[in-house]
Amino acid sequence: MTETAIEAAALSKGFGRRRRKPALDDCAFRLPAGRICALVGPNGAGKSTLLSLAAGLARPSEGTISVLGQAPAAVRERVAYVAQDKPLHPQLTVADTLRFGRELNPRRWDAAVAERIVAEGGLDPDAKVRTLSGGQRTRVALALALGKRPEVLLLDEPMADLDPLARHQLMAALMADAAEHGTTVVMSSHVVAELDGSCDHLLLLGAGRVRLAGPLDDLLAAHRLVTGRADASLEPHTVVESRTTGRQLTALVRPEGSLGDGWQVTAPTLEELVLAHLRTPEAPALRLDSAREAAV
C-alpha cells in the first residue's frame, strides 16, 4: 500500500452566488505519492480550480480534498504550487524573488536548487522580474517552487510560455529533481503531447468531472483501438468512441474479455485515449486509481 499524495471525495467547487455550473462537480480520485500525474482536460474543465483547491487557496463548495493525508491548508509547507499566469512581484529582482522564497520558507529553503534553475536559464540575478520574458518568468516561478523542496508539486500549465528548447530542458530538470527526491508532481495541460513520456499517472477532467483516473499504463492497457467492418458488433465491450468511414469502423473500446476475430487491434497512444474521451463526453468514466477500483 503506497502513501496517498492527494485524495478527493465528492469534491465540488462552484463560483458565484448562483453556482449554476460548478467548475468541479462531484470529483473523486486518489493519487499515490511519488507519481508524476498529468492533469488533462479542455479549457474550462476545472484543472486550475482543482489545483488551487489542492494548494489550499480556496475551499471546496462540497466534498473534501486532502493532501498528504491532511487538509491542504495544514500542509502549505510541504506543497508547492505554480499558478497558470506565474504571478511574481514585478518590482523585485530575480535575486530578491529567490530571497522571498527563502524568507517565507525558513525551514525548507534549498538555495542551491533555486539558484541552479535560474542560472541554467542565463538569468541576471539583478534583473527586475518585470523586464523578464514569459518563459523567463516561468523559470523563476519554477525555481521558487523547487527551492521549497516540496513533497507535492502542483503545476498549472507550467510549460505554456516556454520555447521548445527551454521546455525540454526545464522538464528534464524537473523530472530529474522529482525522481531524486520522490516528489509527487501534478502537471496540468491541454496539450497532451507536452506530457507524454514524462507522466506515469493520468487524471482526465471534462466539464468538471473525472473522466479517467489511474496509472497511465493501466489506463492504456484497459483500452484498445480496433478497426473492422462497419456492420460488425462490438458487444459486450464498452465503446468509448466509434467512427465509421465508408464500410470501415474504427473504435476505442474497453474490452470485456477477448475481442474475437475480424478486428484489427492496436494499443492506443495517450493522445488517442484522451482525444477519444474528450470527443465523446457521454462515454462512461473509468477510475483505476484506488484499491477498491471503483468505476464511477
Partner: protein, 334 residues
C-alpha cells in the same frame, strides 16, 4: 513506502543576514516605494510644523510688532499680511490638514496596493503557497503598516502640538484657527493616529472584498470618507455639553459652538426670534433669556479620547471582518 515522505531539512547555504526576516522583510521589500513615500510625507510635514514652531512664528510675531498689532488696540494694517505672515500661513496650510489627509491616503493605498493588487495579480496566492498561512500574511501586512503609521503620525501629532502652542500668542490677537476645527482637533491629539489606523483597516477590508486594485481603491476611499464624516458628526455628543445662559443678549461665544437660541419663561428652548431690543416682540415670544451650548477647551481630552476609542473600535471591527473573510475563502487558517 516511497521517499516522498522522508522530509529533508536542507536550509543549506542560508547565510544569516541582518535586518528584518520573513514576512516583515517581504512586506518592506515589496512595498519599498510606499515606505519611502511615507518617510517623505512625514519629513515634509515635520519640516512645515518645525518651521511654524520656530522661525515662522517668530518672524510673523516680529512683523506684527512692527505693525503695532501686538497692542490692545489693533491697528488698521493688521488685516493685511506681510511676507512673514504669508509664509507662516503657507506652512500652516501644509501642516494643519496633512494629518486629516493621511487616513484617506492610507485607505486608498491599503485597498489598492497592499491587498487589492496582490489578490488581482496572484502574488497574494504566491505568498500563501509558501510556508505562510493567509492569516499570518494578513497579520504581517497589518502589523508592519500599523507600526509605521503609528510612529509617523505620533511624531507629526507631537510636532503639531508644539507648533500649535507656539502660535498661541498670534491667535490671541487675530482670529486665527480654533482648537475645535476638524483638522486642528484631529492633529492635536490621539485622533490622527486612530484615523490613520482606521484608514488601514478600511483599506484592507475593501481590498479583500473587491480583490482588484482599482475597485478596492474606490471602495476604500468612499468607505473611509463616509466613516470619517459619520464618526466626526458624533464628536459633540461624546461628552456632556455645557450651557451658558444670559438674561440680555447672547452669551459670550467660547469653545466649540453647538447651538444657541432663546429661553422662554417656562425654560423651553426656542429659536431666536431676532427681536433685538423690541420689548413688544420679546414679550410676544415670551423670551426671558438666551442660551448657548458649547464644549469648553477643557473638554478637549475627554472628547479626543472618547472619539479615539470609538474610531479604534470601528477599525478593530473592520480587521476582524477582514480575517473572517480571508479564513472563509481559503479554508481553515493554520
Amino acid at each position: 513506502m516511497t521517499t516522498a515522505l522522508t522530509v529533508e531539512t536542507p536550509s543549506t547555504g542560508v547565510a544569516p543576514s541582518r535586518g528584518p526576516r520573513g514576512l516583515v522583510w517581504a512586506m518592506l521589500r515589496v512595498h519599498r516605494w510606499a515606505l519611502w513615500f511615507w518617510a517623505l510625507l512625514v519629513a515634509v510635514g515635520a519640516g512645515a510644523l518645525l518651521f511654524t514652531y520656530g522661525p515662522g512664528t517668530d518672524a510673523a510675531w516680529a512683523e506684527y510688532r512692527a505693525m503695532g498689532c501686538h497692542l490692545r488696540d489693533v491697528g488698521p494694517d493688521c488685516d493685511f499680511s506681510g511676507p512673514a505672515i504669508s509664509r507662516l500661513n503657507l506652512a500652516n496650510t501644509l501642516g494643519d490638514p496633512l494629518l486629516s489627509f493621511v487616513p484617506l491616503l492610507v485607505a486608498a493605498w491599503a485597498g489598492a496596493a497592499l491587498i487589492g493588487r496582490e489578490l488581482e495579480s496572484g502574488t497574494a496566492q504566491l505568498a500563501w503557497t509558501q510556508s505562510v498561512s493567509p492569516a499570518r500574511w494578513l497579520a504581517a501586512k497589518l502589523a508592519v503598516a500599523a507600526v509605521l503609521l503609528v510612529s509617523g503620525t505620533t511624531v507629526l501629532t507631537l510636532l503639531h502640538r508644539l507648533a500649535w502652542s507656539s502660535t498661541g500668542r498670534l491667535r490671541s490677537i487675530t482670529p486665527w484657527r480654533e482648537w475645535y476645527e476638524d483638522d486642528i482637533f484631529l492633529a492635536n491629539g490621539t485622533l490622527a493616529t486612530a484615523y490613520a489606523l482606521l484608514g488601514l483597516a478600511v483599506g484592507v477590508l475593501a481590498g479583500l472584498l473587491q480583490r482588484r486594485a482599482l475597485p478596492a481603491l474606490g471602495t476604500a476611499a468612499v468607505g473611509l470618507l463616509v466613516l470619517m464624516y459619520t464618526l466626526s458628526a458624533w464628536r459633540p455628543h461624546l461628552w456632556p455639553v455645557e450651557t451658558l445662559t444670559s438674561k440680555d443678549g447672547h452669551p459670550e461665544g467660547v469653545g466649540m459652538p453647538l447651538g444657541e437660541g432663546a429661553l422662554t419663561s417656562t425654560g423651553a428652548r426656542i429659536s431666536d426670534p431676532v427681536c433685538l431690543e423690541d420689548t413688544k416682540c420679546l414679550a410676544e415670544h415670551d423670551v426671558v433669556g438666551y442660551y448657548r451650548d458649547h464644549h469648553p477647551a477643557s473638554h478637549f481630552w475627554p472628547l479626543q479620547l472618547m472619539e479615539t476609542a470609538l474610531v479604534l473600535a470601528v477599525a478593530a471591527l473592520a480587521v476582524l471582518i477582514a480575517f473572517r473573510l480571508l479564513r472563509r475563502r481559503t479554508g481553515a487558517a493554520v
